[in-house]
């Protein structure tokens, strides 16, 4: 991970002092709620259904053991003993007290952490492929670029009051594991014929109320121009993005209304003025940033052949990812055990994972956008002993990439925006699909649940998506199929299906009916798939929604037939 120098540390410390003063003025009644709101949001602080929620930044998902222990300490001291890892690779605390937030930020700063720009209408935490630096299909180490962008975006004076929030994802490998087509800006590293590094720039993707797949507005941006080009995009957005309606304020709407070609022309015209200016990146800066990253000291080892049998074999198959360094592997610790809200971890688990990372993975770990934790540099000859320890901690459920590895937002149990609960739905589905052999037979399947159209649970890109909707004051759930986070995405790249937004199969269902619907969708898939290699999402793209729809709504046990139709 990147280690702060004295300046990085000073900037974070000065932010703590600034926010302490702002909070004090608010509590003394000298700063009005409307004026304080954007300030606290840019420090990750929301006012939630029951208590404030503090979102702590985990820049591009990397944590050290020391930092994770601090998060455990914060969970214990200021919260109720747990935290929630989010789909933005951050961690959220659901029960802090406003007056204690400055102290929490000071504790975070002591381990080079912060909550800067984790909310608000500004450039948010940059997200990345969680196998950066270790994947065999790597093009560049995305983390170095993420850190360059983190510094550039931190307290950017021009872009702190954008029309709406702004999310950037960087993917450094062949496979898109960062959902770059579903971000305001997606940067996909590429090399030109001469081997020079550049970025494919994708703009205007996103989920939410208007899910849209992004457009590549530049196929090859030489790396030197990364900051000036991103700045040109943001300037066009800041000046012309809609501010009259918050539901139409994201850059995707501007790109859609102007058309991707016209938008690109405007960006290129702005960039022509900024190009080769002082923000042009230098070799020296790249070396400086790369040089401040800790690097694992690998031993010269050979790859082992490990038997893929029994419970350990199932875990190897699902939760262990090949590593570019011979003799090593990347391990996903699943935070998706049935009965635990997806992404939640207790203080004791965080401390225990910090220990595991220290003993087995050079003291570092990563948070994935699928809300799991990754130990990226584990010796293959230590996998079995790690597996035993992780199992004791309830972190070895062999379900990565499978149906029960559900992405879910906190939902109506916590969030004041939610129309419906997410966590009990996830749990009911996990309980229904608790037979591991059956799960493995179904194969790779992303099932994502959002409690409202803001899509924090990424339902639009779930192979099966579940969306909580409010119908006349009651909680209902709309089901989509065929969403996909990216080409070759996920852990077991099985197909070439591109990033896609799922299609609604029909009228919504009651909460208790959702698992039944999922079961029917799986039945169609198992009957119609061409082979085990055709994943659910590939099958859904080949067949379209019709056969799935017929089976669900025309089924003799359909819960919908004896009930008045729910208004669409």
């Amino acid at each position: 991970m990147y280690l702060y120098d004295e300046i990085d540390q000073r900037i974070v410390d000065e932010r703590v002092a600034q926010f302490r003063d702002q909070t004090r003025r608010f509590l003394e009644g000298k700063l009005k709620e409307d004026d304080f709101r954007p300030l606290r949001l840019q420090n990750g602080l929301y006012v939630q259904r029951y208590a404030p929620m503090l979102r702590v930044a985990v820049p591009y998902g990397i944590l050290s053991s020391r930092q994770l222990r601090m998060l455990a300490h914060i969970a214990r001291k200021y919260d109720r003993g747990y935290g929630h890892f989010s789909t933005r690779q951050n961690i959220q605390f659901n029960w802090p007290k406003l007056e204690q937030v400055p102290d929490i930020l000071a504790d975070l700063a002591s381990v080079q952490m912060h909550a800067i720009q984790t909310s608000g209408n500004c450039v948010r935490n940059i997200t990345a492929d969680h196998f950066g630096g270790v994947a065999r299909d790597e093009i560049v180490d995305s983390f170095v670029w993420c850190e360059v962008l983190r510094q550039w975006s931190t307290f950017h004076p021009e872009f702190a009051y954008l029309p709406r929030k702004f999310k950037i994802a960087v993917n450094g490998a062949e496979a898109d594991r960062a959902a770059t087509f579903l971000h305001d800006i997606g940067l996909h590293a590429v090399r030109d014929a001469a081997g020079a590094v550049g970025f494919r720039v994708i703009v205007g993707g996103g989920m939410g109320r208007t899910p849209l797949i992004g457009h590549a507005i530049r196929e090859f941006l030489p790396w030197q121009h990364l900051l000036s080009y991103v700045e040109a995009i943001l300037r066009v957005y800041n000046r012309y993005g809609r501010r009259d309606n918050m539901h139409k304020a994201r850059i995707k709407i501007l790109v859609k209304e102007r058309g991707p070609e016209k938008f690109r022309d405007e960006v290129e015209a702005e960039w022509a003025q900024l190009k080769d200016g002082p923000s042009t990146l230098t070799e020296a800066e790249l070396r400086r940033v790369a040089g401040r990253f800790t690097r694992p000291r690998y031993q010269p080892l050979e790859d082992l052949r490990l038997a893929q049998e029994g419970p350990f074999g199932a875990w190897l198959k699902r939760n262990v990812f090949p590593h570019k360094q011979p003799g090593y592997a990347a391990v996903t610790l699943s935070l998706k055990r049935t009965g635990v809200p997806p992404g939640d971890a207790t203080d004791a688990q965080m401390d225990a994972v910090a220990d595991l990372a220290e003993r087995y993975s050079f003291g570092e770990l990563r948070v994935t956008h699928e809300q799991n934790l990754v130990l990226a540099d584990v010796r293959q000859d230590q996998l079995e002993v790690l597996w035993r320890e992780a199992r004791e901690l309830g972190l070895a459920t062999p379900n990565i990439g499978l149906l029960t590895n559900i992405i879910a937002c906190p939902g109506g149990d916590f969030c004041s925006l939610a129309n419906a609960k997410s966590i009990p739905v996830a749990e009911a589905i996990q309980r229904l699909f608790d037979d591991l052999d059956y799960l493995h037979d179904i194969g790779e399947l992303d099932l994502n649940i959002s409690g409202c159209i803001n899509s924090c649970g990424h339902h639009h890109v779930g192979h099966i998506g579940v969306l909580g909707v409010d119908k006349q004051g009651e909680e209902f759930y709309q089901i989509t199929i065929g969403g996909n986070q990216g080409k070759n995405g996920g852990l077991t790249p099985g197909g070439q299906t591109p990033a896609a937004v799922g299609k609604v199969i029909g009228p919504a269902f009651a909460q208790h009916e959702v698992p039944w619907v999922v079961e029917r969708l799986i039945e169609v898939y198992l009957e119609k798939r061409e082979s085990d290699a055709e994943r659910f999402v590939d099958c859904a793209h080949r067949l379209g929604i019709e056969p799935f729809k017929q089976h669900v709504y025309g089924h003799p046990d359909s819960p919908r037939k004896d009930r008045a139709p729910v208004p669409a």
């Binding site: 300046i7 900037i11 950017h156 702190a160 009051y161 300037r235 000046r239 002082p278 800066e285």
Partner: protein, 130 residues
């Protein structure tokens, strides 16, 4: 009383300046006044609400693209908590919203001792000075 901060000091009311005072609203294009900048007494950029960030881009364009070197004044909903970013984008005068503490606003110009990006105030980004 609304207080004016100018060039890092609390300013006293001054006699009307010679020359034109140009005023830009958030939706205005600074290119539209480019040929009048040379003769202007000052340029005012209005912030009807502090969280409308278009004025920040306007300021940078005036300074960096159109070469404006005269007084650039932020007016409207101008509060101490935005003044640091405003100054980095090229504003050198701030007509504070009524009720704002002027001394505190002056202090807020020094909220941070360093910044990463290139800006009007410091055209070289930190990485070229590190």
């Amino acid at each position: 009383m609304a207080t004016l901060i100018r060039r890092g000091k609390i300013a006293h009311p001054s006699p009307p300046e010679a020359g034109e005072v140009l005023r830009l609203e958030p939706a205005d294009d600074p290119a539209g006044v480019a040929d009048r900048l040379g003769a202007a007494a000052r340029v005012e950029v209005n912030f009807p609400r502090f969280n409308d960030g278009r004025g920040y881009s306007i300021a940078r364009l005036l300074r960096e693209r159109h070469g404006y070197t005269g007084e650039l004044r932020a007016v409207g909903d101008v509060q101490r908590d935005q003044i640091f970013y405003l100054s980095r984008c090229g504003f050198d005068a701030f007509l504070l919203r009524e009720g704002e503490d002027a001394e505190a606003a002056l202090a807020a110009l020094r909220d941070f001792s360093e910044a990463y990006q290139a800006s009007v105030e410091r055209p070289q980004p930190l990485f070229r000075r590190r």
